[in-house]
Structures are given as C-alpha cells and as structure tokens.
C-alpha cells in the first residue's frame, strides 16, 4: 500500500509538471499581459515598460519559462503576483484555507445529507418518501449553482426583509466579530458559511443521495445480506452493518472525485456570496493575466484532482480489506 501511494505521487509529478507547462504557454498565448491593469492615460508607455522590466516580462518566453520552472522546482517559489503586489504564496495561503473551509463543509453537507437521504430512500424504496426525495434531489442536482445561490441570496439574505436570516457575504461579521465571545464567533462563522456551503453542497448531496440509493439497493441484493439475515440479525443490523459499509465503498471514490468539483464549483459560489477564496483568485488571475498567480492557482487545482483521487484510493483501501491486504 505504501509503495502504491508513493508510486501514485511519483506518477503525479510529471502530470502536474505537464499541466504547469501547458498552462504557462496557454496563459502567455492569451492576448494582453499583466500590465494591462495599468492601462491608463496617466501612465506613460514608459512606466508600463518599467513594470515589465521589473517583473521580467520583457525577456523571451523561453527564458521566462525556464526561470519560472527553476523557481518552482529548486526553491518551491511561485513568484510575485503583479495584480496583488505580493508573493503569490501569500495570497494563496490566505485564500486557500477559506476555500478549504467552504469545500470541507460542503463536503460534509454533501456526505451527511446525501448518504442519509440515500439510505432512507433505498430502505423505503418506492415509498412516497423515496419518490419525493428522488424528485427533490434531481431538482437540486439539475440546478445551476449560480441560480441557486441567487435565489437563496434573494430569499434569505436581505432580498425579502421578513426572512433576512443570513448575511449576504463575507466570512464573519467584520464589525462585531472581534467583540464576540468564543461561542458567538463560532455562531457568527456558522451563519456566514451556511448559505455558500449549502449552495455548493446541496447539488453534490443530491448527486450522492442518488448514488447512495442505487448502491444500497444493489448491495441489498447481495448474497451476504441473505447470509446475515439467515443468522437471525435484525433488519437494522443487516442494512446498517452489512449493507452500509459495502455500499459506502463506491461513494468514497465518488467523494474523492467530487473534491476537485467542489473546488471549481467554488468559483461561482464565491463570486455570488463574496467568499474570499481560491475561486475568486483564480478568476481574477485569469482576467488580469496575472501569470504567476494563474499558474499557481491552476497547479493547486490540478494537485487537488491528484489529491482527491489519492485520498479516495487510500480511504477505499481503509474500508475495503480486499484492497488493503493485497
């Protein structure tokens, strides 16, 4: 298992390297350059040239590429963001935890809600509950996140005064947060993250519930379920002990795959709810041609895919002895 994990990580290195290279040339091929944000009659062309020189943009592309790669490989250095006037690393270290927070909660929501509803629907197959949740799940699954976000924002974040229960943007109440008690701060964070994580997580939860239902129905037909019943176990033990663990295994894989999806879903959710995360950094970087930032952000997105898959594999091995012990 260890060699397997190490191997997977080793394999992903050239993959990420290739990703970096393609992204590098892609973003440089795009029209414009980072100094376009200084595009302004106040600024002499000479001043823009100064900026280009400071950031080394006047050098041939090949040289820039080699320098960049050298920095990344030798010093783990991702350069300076021209638009944000700070090291790329700093900006990412500030934004990444926020996105992780959001995604993690969305993931939690996705799993708890999705798995819970999926189990109930499977156990009560063809019941009213089953049909109702299936249709509801499908509706949320089919809803674009920007639209859901917009509707939630309008309904619960001030559009309708009577139901103004949640703040419309940000991570904390920026004015009062500091003067709050620990519990109050926690509550403050909770009400701020609720709508964005709901928007991000509910579609995925709907997807998971559909999968979960299907998997559990599949597992319920397995021979070992019959064996368990023949032992005289109660239906609850049969379903929740013998069935659930097996049905959860494919869900783990899906979860690993959904991690990067949550991350890219964050692009839109962060925009709608003003959440200070990677999604916004990514979009800004692309539009502003903030080369270093763009590359680093995309590298992280790429790494997220690798990590998601790896985590799924490891978790899978943890619950499935067939993989763990071979």
């Amino acid at each position: 298992m260890h060699t397997y994990i190490i191997r997977r990580i080793l394999i992903s290195i050239p993959l990420l390297f290739g990703l970096l290279t393609i992204n590098f040339f892609l973003i440089h091929a795009a029209p414009g350059d980072p100094t376009d944000i200084f595009y302004n009659p106040d600024m002499d062309p000479e001043a823009r040239e100064n900026i280009r020189r400071i950031y080394g943009l006047d050098q041939p592309l090949g040289v820039q590429y080699l320098k960049y790669i050298q920095g990344v490989v030798l010093k783990f250095e991702f350069g300076y963001s021209i638009a944000k006037k700070r090291p790329v690393k700093d900006e990412i270290l500030e934004a990444l935890p926020n996105t992780i927070q959001l995604s993690a909660l969305a993931l939690l929501l996705e799993l708890s809600l999705g798995i819970g509803i999926g189990i109930l629907a499977a156990v009560k197959q063809q019941s009213t509950f089953d049909n109702a949740t299936r249709v509801t799940a499908l509706t949320f699954y089919s809803m674009p996140s920007f639209y859901l976000g917009l509707v939630l924002l309008f309904l619960f974040a001030g559009g309708v005064s009577a139901t103004h229960w949640f703040p419309a943007s940000g991570m904390v109440d920026i004015v009062r947060h500091e003067s709050m008690s620990t519990l109050g701060r926690l509550g403050d964070r909770a009400i701020h993250i609720f709508l964005p994580s709901l928007t991000l997580g509910i579609g995925a939860a709907a997807g998971i519930s559909r999968y979960m239902r299907g998997e559990l129905l599949e597992v319920i037909r397995q021979d070992y379920m019959r064996t368990a019943r023949a032992k005289g176990l109660t239906e609850r033990v049969v379903v929740f002990k013998h069935g659930l663990r097996n049905a959860l295994m494919p869900i783990i894989t899906i979860m690993g795959l959904s991690l990067p999806f949550l991350f890219s879903g964050a692009v839109i959710v962060e925009q709608v709810f003003g959440w200070p995360g990677m999604g916004r950094v990514a979009v800004d970087a692309a539009f502003q041609r903030d080369y270093s930032m763009f590359l680093a952000v995309n590298l992280i997105f790429g790494a997220m895919v690798v990590v998601g898959n790896l985590v799924a594999d490891i978790l899978y091995a943890m619950v499935d002895p067939r993989v763990r012990l071979s």
Partner: protein
C-alpha cells in the same frame, strides 16, 4: 508411444513444452517480481479425429492450455504444431487463415454469444470473416449448420437471449462448426448446463465428432464427463500434466496418487457403492509460488523426501504416461534418482 494418437496415425496437433507465465509486477518501478506459472512445460499430441480430455481442478491451467493452443493468448515458450505448422510464430494473416480449421466452444452460453447479434450473424460471422460465399449462400450454410446442431433454422434472426441455455450452447457449437474445422477446443462446454440438458449437448458433440471426424481437446473439471467422451485423458495439476492415458485405462488403473484421489472424490450416483475415499488434505497451492519438486507433494498421501526436491520425470508404461517418483519406484523397482 503406442497409444499416442492411437486411432489414427496422423497427428493433427502437437504441443511441445508449452509454457505460459504471467508476470506479476510490484513495487515502485513496477518491476516483474514473479510469474504466475499457469502452464509449465507440458507436451501432448492429438490425432485426427481424436478426443483428448484435459481434466483438473480450477486454476490448474487447463483453460490456459486451451487458449494457448489456439493462440488466443501467446505462449511464453514452447511450440504448437497444427498440421505441421508452428502456430506460435505465425504471422497474423496466416494465423487468421489457419483459424478456419481450429475452433473453440466456450463454457458459458450466456457470455459466449454477442448479445447484439442475431443467431444468423453469430454463426455466419466466421463465413463473413473468411469470405466464404455471398450473403445468400452464407445464410444457407448457416441454416444448414443450425439444422445439424439441432436448432430450428427459422430462428435465424433471433437474438441469443431468446434462447435457453442448452440452445445457446448449440449456437456456440454451430458457430464453431460452420467452417467445418478439423479441431475444436471444448472449454467446459457442459458444466454450466442443467443436468437434463448436459446429455443433449454431450450426445451432440459425440455425434458431430463421428460424423465429421473432428478432433477435440475436451477441457472439463468433471471427470465422469471427460472420461466418457475422451479417447485419451490428461490430468493436470498446477500447470503440469501428471498423468496421461487412454481413458478406460486411466479409470481402471490410475497410477498417479492425484488421479486416484480425483477419481475417488467423484460421487457415484449409486447408494450401494458407497466407497472409502482418499481425502486430499488442504487446498491447491497458488501457481504464483508453486511447491518445489513435485508440485503435488504438499497434498500427496504418498509423498517421500525426494518429491520435495526433484521434479518427477515422465514415465511411459505402454503409452500410459505418469509423472511420479513413487510410481516410478513401484514400477521400475529402483529408487528414483535425484
């Protein structure tokens, strides 16, 4: 060598030192660390119109032999001479042409038929591949073959799922037969069928063989069926043939302790004949790390020291071949050399 290809002097298929090793990759660089020795140096011959039974427990490599003989998988080593031509090194085009004379029938009548093709297309596919006749002639040939295999030609446009297991197996046989091959590998053709259907298929196979002078390599785990249908029987254990003899001879006078155990394990549908059986201890070892010396020694009731170290050699008693140190000692009277 007297019973080699006993009935006909002409040898149709000769397999020599066939080996099939599957590499096992492990570690960081996925280096080959071991081989699964599915088939390890076996040789046999099949004469024109002869049936050779190949029997053994699951995982002993009998199916691999069947597939290697037809070069559905490439053997690691050894030669397969079919009508004098070495199949193992034949170029793809020539091999394809050769396939007209050698065919295969599979075990699972559900998985062996393409569910998206009609019976006519399945049976006629071989004709289409080898460019036999035009469309109309081919349909005629298909109908003809269906008739021979006990299928109503009216069903030519139906799909496999519309048939029962026995009928599907007939379709599989018709597919193999339509090119009028000389040799058919029957890979467990009846083991997936109901008891009452098995006999229909066995009888059909026997009948076809006699009618068209077919040679079969009949692979099965059911000793009674193999013994019934075969001229000669080879018993395999862990990738090796341990005994090869005329089928009645093998039943009457099994020499190898494994063959003896196998025979005694087969339940006989006659309550009056409840017999004392030799029970083999344990399970078949993994072909990944087969035991040293004689591969059977870990389960053999007769095993002696030398069995652990030295591989037994072929002992040929009037065409009854056996690979066993103990038998060798009993028959030749001399202790096996090391």
């Amino acid at each position: 060598m007297s019973t080699e290809a006993s009935k006909n002097s002409e040898v149709l298929l000769r397999v020599e030192h066939l080996k099939n090793y599957f590499p096992v990759r492990q570690g960081l660089l996925s280096r080959v660390t071991a081989y699964v020795k599915a088939v390890d140096d076996i040789s046999f011959e099949i004469g024109v119109g002869e049936t050779l039974g190949l029997v053994g427990e699951s995982g002993c490599g009998k199916t691999t032999v069947g597939h290697s003989v037809l070069r559905l998988i490439n053997p690691t080593e050894g030669t397969v001479l079919f009508q004098g031509k070495d199949l193992t090194h034949l170029p793809a085009a020539e091999l394809r042409a050769m396939r007209q004379d050698m065919q295969i029938i599979f075990q699972d009548p559900f998985s062996s038929l393409n569910p998206r093709m009609t019976v006519g297309a399945i049976i006629g596919e071989a004709l289409a591949i080898h460019g036999r006749g035009d469309r109309k002639e081919r349909a005629e040939m298909v109908r003809d073959t269906m008739q021979k295999c006990g299928l109503d030609p009216a069903y030519i446009n139906r799909f496999p799922h519309e048939f029962s297991g026995g009928q599907r197996q007939r379709i599989g046989i018709a597919r193999a037969l339509v090119l009028s091959p000389k040799f058919i590998v029957c890979d467990e053709p009846v083991s997936a069928l109901d008891v009452s259907i098995q006999s229909q298929i066995i009888n059909l196979l026997v009948e076809l063989k006699e009618r068209y002078n077919l040679a079969y390599l009949f692979i099965a785990h059911d000793l009674s069926v193999v013994q019934y249908i075969s001229d000669r029987v080879a018993v395999m254990y862990l990738g090796k043939i341990v005994e090869l003899a005329d089928s009645t001879e093998l039943y009457r006078n099994p020499l190898h302790p494994y063959t003896q155990a196998l025979l005694s394990a087969v339940p006989v549908p006659d309550p009056t004949r409840r017999k004392q059986r030799t029970l083999l201890p344990g399970d078949v070892p993994s072909p990944l790390n087969p035991p040293s010396g004689c591969r059977f020694h870990t389960r053999c009731p007769l095993a002696i020291d030398i069995c652990k170290k030295v591989e037994p050699r072929e002992l040929d008693v009037e065409g009854h071949k056996v690979w066993c140190h103990v038998v060798e000692e009993q028959i030749t009277g001399s202790p096996p050399s090391s």
